[in-house]
């Protein structure tokens, strides 16, 4: 056994444990080195970078239309939300007016993607706390959404469906009917998932009061999205800084009270219900029309720079885009919410148990593809 440090009392010896990058509950290739005194964590040092692919640099060598595929692979669970932020940035740089129908299609698909992402979180979180059943119920709902995505975009995950100025294709003919069925199924499914885990006595015991972070601390750490809202800060970019057409919908922002694991979990469950509301309104408001703005095939934004932020399933997803007037960007910088949320991990892990470390890490809902880019 490797002996690293003495604990505070000086007579016992801490055990260093290397958790990850191949640990089953580090959600990919995250690695955290923890020093434990018995079961209690004394010190935790996270290491990232195992999934670094240099996406931002790669963007500099690709045409604007090709970069969308790279963005698909950053947040590989919320692909469409990831595509959206880049497309919005280029459109803002070009001062492009996107047709209404394209906007509605984008919003509907993005909100569906948010539900799919939260469903994945729901299932995996169940596994993290040791319940093996929720994951299958969560995946059932996610599967329904992915079947629809396949129908619309042709791919289950890496869609490459949004375009600068609109979307790739018109929706399939039976979209409205399928959507209606899907929304009904999802409503039932979300309620079922909620009743399966949320109020379970042992789940409460495992998540209530674990990994608390106050609103001020969360803001200081740059935490955003459901994690920030769980800490009692009602901040949602869809509302506070509306982009696309989000100012046309009426929906709710779930806000937690204590910023513990349960709040972070339940904010996401509640958010799925609110996404359904947005989808229903968007389906009702959507009219037929063009789906693509009238632009040239190869986009050449004017020289300049732009920053766009959106609310991805994980939080404040921003893109800083610098153009030199050519058909390739000069610089693309992504502000990934998972990366910022992960910064709070060390703060959250203080004085917790090893078993809690898994629960806390799970509640941050990181996507390593986005953290390391």
């Amino acid at each position: 056994m490797q002996i690293q440090e003495q604990n505070s009392t000086g007579n016992a010896i801490d055990l260093m444990i290397n958790m990850g990058p191949q640990h089953p509950s580090t959600h990919g290739v995250f690695r955290i080195v923890i020093w434990v005194d018995g079961e209690r964590i004394v010190k935790a040092v996270p290491h990232i970078g195992y999934l670094h692919r240099g996406s931002e640099k790669l963007c500099e060598g690709e045409l604007y239309s090709q970069i969308i595929t790279l963005f698909d692979r950053m947040d590989y669970v919320g692909n469409l939300n990831s595509e959206l932020v880049f497309v919005l940035a280029v459109e803002k740089l070009m001062s492009l007016e996107v047709p209404d129908r394209a906007n509605y299609i984008r919003v509907i698909l993005c909100e569906l993607n948010r539900i799919a992402s939260h469903m994945l979180f729901y299932g995996v979180y169940g596994l993290d706390v040791g319940a093996m059943t929720p994951v299958l119920y969560g995946f059932r709902e996610r599967e329904r959404i992915q079947a629809l995505f396949e129908n619309v975009t042709g791919a289950r995950m890496m869609h490459n469906y949004f375009r600068v100025g609109g979307v790739k294709e018109e929706l399939p003919d039976d979209f409205a009917a399928r959507m209606k069925e899907l929304v009904e199924d999802l409503k039932k499914g979300i309620d079922e998932c909620d009743s399966l885990l949320s109020q379970n006595e042992m789940f409460l015991a495992r998540t209530k009061g674990i990994g608390q972070i106050s609103g001020e601390d969360a803001i200081d750490f740059g935490v955003s999205g459901p994690m920030l809202r769980a800490s009692g800060v009602a901040e949602d970019i869809r509302v506070t800084e509306p982009y696309s057409i989000y100012d046309r919908f009426e929906f709710g922002i779930p806000v937690g009270k204590y910023g513990d694991c349960w709040d972070r979990y339940y904010v996401r469950v509640e958010e799925m219900r609110q996404s359904i509301l947005i989808i229903e309104q968007a389906m009702a408001q959507m009219e037929s029309g063009p789906i693509m703005a009238d632009i040239r095939r190869i986009a050449r934004p004017p020289k300049g720079e732009v920053y766009v932020r959106t609310e991805s399933p994980r939080g404040d997803l921003g893109v800083f885009l610098v153009s030199d007037g050519s058909d390739k960007p000069y610089r693309v910088k992504v502000r990934a919410p998972s990366f910022a949320n992960l910064q709070a991990l060390q703060h959250l892990l203080r004085d917790s148990y090893i078993a809690d470390a898994v629960v806390i890490l799970g509640s941050i809902d990181i996507i390593l593809g986005e953290v390391d880019r």
Binding site: M1, I17, P24, S25, E39, L127, D128, V129, G130, A131, M132, T133, L136, Y137, R140, L197, Q199, E201, M202, F203, L204, A205, R206, K208, G209, I210, I213, S214, G215, E216, A230, S231, G232, V233, A234, E235, D236, R238, V239, T240, P242, D247, E250, F251, G252, I253, P254, V255, G256, K257, Y258, D260, D263, Y266, E270, Q274, Y353, I354, A355, D356
Partner: protein, 388 residues
């Protein structure tokens, strides 16, 4: 020792081994199908009719895999650990009867033998943890030691209640005493204690802390593979079978209640079937719990054991003793036990020890937020941890 005795012992051991192996194989199939049913899946369907041959395929796969030895492992301890876990599990069945005359050796102190042998398996888990020279294995082994030793007390105490009722430690006599009424009628509290402590002894959900997949990645078994791992697996499932069988024997009347109305070989065979049917019903209950509940944390497990189960087990014994000593009618015991049990469930459900707020997420409408930007609603107060 005469030759006949040796042959009898060898045949008995072989028969027991074959019987237990078949039971374990059947159990894995039942477990997969039960979990699949809970999780809207089909479970194994390919090998044999509805996957009935899947356990055999699994066993063959495990036996044909490479046996790995970690380079830093403590060899002797590492190879001995599976045996140290398996032997106690196996030895327990020497005295567990399937029917009135279907038992290898009916010991007069059967229950005493069972509780004393069952404790031994802890040692094997700690040995596996130490021998693997893996930090997760060490953690798992120590978790197992803490967990199993603390749950041994309520486990034994719950058995004691039954022994007091029957005035015997002989399993055959305990079953014979339940011909008209099963012990569960007088000992509902004892059943709760025995079953809960039994789950913890097994390391089954929600007490599967020592081999928690998401925390210590299999705990003591992390480094084992192939045949040695399958020995652990075998021991674990034999233990599950043992706990279920003991639950049936002690609380649900074994092969009695209702008694099989036949004599001779037919009676024995039907008794064994009836007993196994009851046992599998309990096993399915265990699997149901596995498919339903999350896992507790080690400190919550300990406080649940020491603050809840241990005192309750003493209460159970005192209640039984008082009723027996003063010769009160037995239904008094039933009612008092049920009241205590109701109180326990109330305490678990309401969590009065903590100021646990159940619904802490509020939904603000978008229009109310559009006027202002960032609204702080709280997040500074402390929620105490929900223990127990």
């Amino acid at each position: 020792m005469s030759l006949e005795l040796i042959i009898y012992l060898l045949l008995g051991a072989l028969g027991l081994f074959v019987f237990l192996s078949v039971m374990v194989l059947a159990q894995t199939w039942v477990e997969r199908k039960t979990l699949a049913r809970i999780q809207m899946r089909m479970g194994p369907m390919v090998v044999g009719f509805h996957g009935t041959l899947q356990p055999i395929a699994d066993a063959l796969k495990l036996l044909s895999k490479e046996d790995l030895l970690p380079s830093w492992a403590d060899r002797r301890v590492y190879w001995l650990a599976p045996l140290a876990v398996f032997l106690p599990a196996f030895l327990l069945w020497v005295t567990i009867p399937l029917a009135h005359d279907l038992v290898l050796s009916n010991l007069e102190l059967g229950l005493f033998y069972i509780v004393s042998i069952s404790v031994l398996s802890v040692m094997g888990l700690v040995m596996a943890g130490w021998g693997s020279a893996n930090k997760y294995a060490i953690l798992g082994g120590l978790r197992a030691a803490g967990q199993l030793i603390s749950y041994e007390i309520p486990f034994i105490m719950a058995i004691l209640g039954v022994a007091m009722l029957t005035q015997s430690l002989n399993l055959r006599e305990i079953v014979a005493a339940q011909t008209t009424f099963a012990n569960v009628l007088w000992q509902p509290l004892g059943l709760f204690l025995f079953f809960t402590a039994g789950l913890a002894e097994l390391g089954r959900t929600p007490f599967d802390i020592h081999h928690a997949e998401s925390e210590v990645i299999g705990g003591p078994f992390i480094e084992y593979s192939g045949a040695h791992w399958s020995v652990f697996f075998l021991a674990e499932y034999i233990n599950t079978f043992t706990i279920a069988a003991l639950t049936v024997l002690l609380f649900f009347g074994g092969w009695n209640w209702p008694t099989i109305p036949f004599d001779g070989a037919l009676g024995s065979a039907l008794s064994a079937v009836w007993f196994l049917a009851k046992t599998y019903a309990v096993i399915i209950g265990i699997f149901w719990i596995r498919g339903t509940y999350p896992r507790l944390r080690i400190d919550q497990l300990m406080s649940f054991g020491w603050k809840m189960l241990v005192p309750l087990s003493f209460v159970n014994i005192v209640l039984t003793a008082v009723v027996l000593f003063y010769g009160f009618p037995m239904w008094v015991l039933t009612i008092v036990s049920l009241i205590v049990l109701g109180g326990v469930f109330y305490i678990i459900a309401r969590n009065p020890g903590t100021n646990l707020e159940r619904h802490t997420v509020k939904v603000y409408s978008a229009s109310s937020l559009r006027s202002g930007s960032v609204v702080m609603t709280g997040g500074t107060s402390d929620q105490t941890s929900g223990a127990d």
